[in-house]
């Protein structure tokens, strides 16, 4: 099911406006075939989450940051899925706990259909918190806070590194 998240960051006369259209679905054997025209920047073997984006998006420069392999919020989402799947309140004890193979489970696939933005209200760095906010909405957990400030002199936004955020408790309603 497609989930739409409208990310808005506004601290000046212009802001960062990004709408993300994506779905979260189990990774199936034929997923790679179905999405053969897409890319897979996140290694699904090491995470509950794999990321696919449509060709048309990849060709757009907006996803060049994905090549950095770092999707803000991916660890939070993985941890959240781990807790839901294991019905545990405590965080995973080891990195292995976050691997679906530990539980003979299939990883989840985030398939991004479209990233819509206004070119004059956009900065590439905003994609990271936007994806994180989408993940939070799709997985039903509190989105990590966005630590950003606007430099009037440089007319651009700066983002602080992703904070070490503790996952908040939320209802186990997404993965069954």
């Amino acid at each position: 099911m497609e989930i739409i998240h409208e990310f808005r960051l506004f601290k000046a006369s212009w802001g960062i406006v990004i709408d993300i259209y994506a779905e979260l679905a189990p990774y199936e054997q034929d997923t790679q075939t179905i999405y053969s025209h897409s890319i897979k920047p996140i290694d699904y073997k090491d995470s509950f989450l794999a990321l696919f984006v449509e060709d048309k998006i990849y060709e757009d420069s907006v996803v060049s940051m994905f090549s950095g392999y770092k999707i803000m919020g991916i660890e939070l989402a993985s941890e959240h899925l781990y807790r839901l799947l294991n019905k545990q309140d405590h965080p995973p004890r080891s990195y292995c706990d976050l691997k679906p193979s530990c539980y003979n489970l299939k990883p989840m696939v985030i398939r991004i259909f479209e990233i819509d933005y206004n070119p004059c209200d956009y900065q590439e760095e905003g994609l990271a918190p936007a994806i994180a906010a989408w993940l939070a909405k799709a997985c039903d957990f509190a989105p990590p806070p966005v630590n950003a400030y606007f430099s009037k002199a440089e007319n651009r936004y700066y983002f602080e590194p992703e904070p070490d955020v503790q996952l908040r408790n939320s209802p186990a309603s997404v993965v069954s």
């Binding site: 409208e6 808005r8 506004f10 000046a12 006369s13 212009w14 802001g15 406006v17 757009d60 420069s61 206004n118 070119p119 004059c120 209200d121 956009y122 900065q123 007319n155 651009r156």
Partner: protein, 97 residues
């Protein structure tokens, strides 16, 4: 929507939009300064921060608002220069080249 004079800002502005829509082109126009000054207008950048945010949230569709401001001319700074928005009612005053 008009643009600042000179090429630098319009070219960057056009480049930004070209990424989304390759059929776009810039149409230049002139307008008498006295007519321009007579428009019911606002420069968003001149508003103090909280009022600016409130205004955009209330009237900008981009930020979830409803453009029922009734203004004829709006200026707003962006990442690539100033945007100038004109209401349809005043298009007759724009002299396209």
């Amino acid at each position: 929507m008009g643009l600042d004079s000179g090429c630098f800002i319009p070219c960057r502005y056009l480049d930004k939009w070209y990424e989304r829509e390759s059929n776009l082109q810039i149409l230049e126009f002139r307008i008498d300064t006295s007519v321009l000054a007579s428009f019911h207008q606002i420069d968003i950048d001149l508003l103090p921060g909280p009022k600016r945010a409130k205004w955009l949230n209330q009237y900008s569709k981009l930020y979830g608002g409803n453009p029922t401001h009734g203004l004829e001319y709006i200026q707003r700074g962006t990442q690539v220069g100033k945007e100038h928005f004109f209401a349809k009612l005043v298009f007759r005053h724009l002299k396209f080249q």
